[in-house]
Assembly symmetry: C2
Homo-oligomer: 168 residues x 2
């Protein structure tokens, strides 16, 4: 029974702090690629100008054994200060999407109703298009994009997931 | 005069669509690293489950000549479908940050006032901490983080910039 459970693929969200130096992202992405680990989404941004530290949020998937390997591999990379598997504890995940909708004829009011229902902000309005800003869970953004696609052609720019632990 | 102007370093935001296949991110990050191009922020996320396409938003900087080289290099990589330098036209940039504030004694009400002034959402409240969600321009997020740091210790997880062109 344990054997079967170990084979189940799980989705994990990792927070990795690294020295902000040239080539760090290439090395981390290269490690995932070389070992065949999957990257579902990745965001990287400086968190401190003064200390030159970046925080990378990586969403990956694999069996529990693979996730352990990924964490261990990251942990032993030189520019990595810390690796936290946020999925092991209470945490919040959010994503930001900018969605341009080229409104199909007659769909204008339904597009505005969708935005209101989904707590999307309308950040630009043109004659035949809207640009929406949506901050939500990835599932809610998926649902918003699917609903928008029924109202016209869409262009989507998503950040991928960013996450933070609930406890200190 | 032209010579001088050409030396000015500019910040550019590139939207890159790529085939969602293993190793794409490693190759792109590796190209930047090998050639000494800077990555200020990078986000990557699937934009279509059906067509296996990812969109990467890269904020980089360099002289106009270097930016041209970066675009040309990206454009000739095999899994890259398109490269758009959004900085050349009207576009919107946004970023999402999750900010945990361990509230200093006596700073509770000021923290809530800061959140209201900055249109930050309070997504978690504990005895001595808040977690805020802020979607804004990077400059506004910088300002929010700086203000929060005066009210206690902060932990910041940012997505980096995501961007979309205004015109179709």
């Amino acid at each position: 029974m344990m054997q079967i459970k170990e084979q189940i693929t799980e989705r994990h969200t990792l927070a990795v702090t690294v020295a902000n130096e040239p080539g760090v992202l290439a090395r981390i992405a290269g490690m995932f690629s070389a070992r065949g680990y999957n990257i579902e989404s990745l965001t990287v941004a400086d968190i401190s100008d003064q200390h030159r530290i970046s925080r990378i949020t990586i969403v990956t998937n694999g069996t529990p054994h693979v996730i352990e390997q990924i964490v261990a591999q990251l942990d032993r990379m030189v520019p990595v200060f810390s690796v936290t598997d946020l999925t092991l504890g209470a945490h919040f995940e959010r994503e930001l999407a900018l969605i341009k909708l080229m409104i199909a004829p007659g769909a204008h009011d339904r597009a505005l109703a969708l935005a209101e229902d989904s707590h999307a902000q309308v950040i630009d309005t043109a004659a035949h298009s809207f640009i929406f800003e949506v901050t939500a869970t990835s599932e809610k953004i998926d649902a918003f994009v699917a609903a928008a696609e029924r109202l016209g052609r869409v262009e989507v720019a998503r950040t991928g997931i960013v996450a933070i632990a609930r406890d200190q």
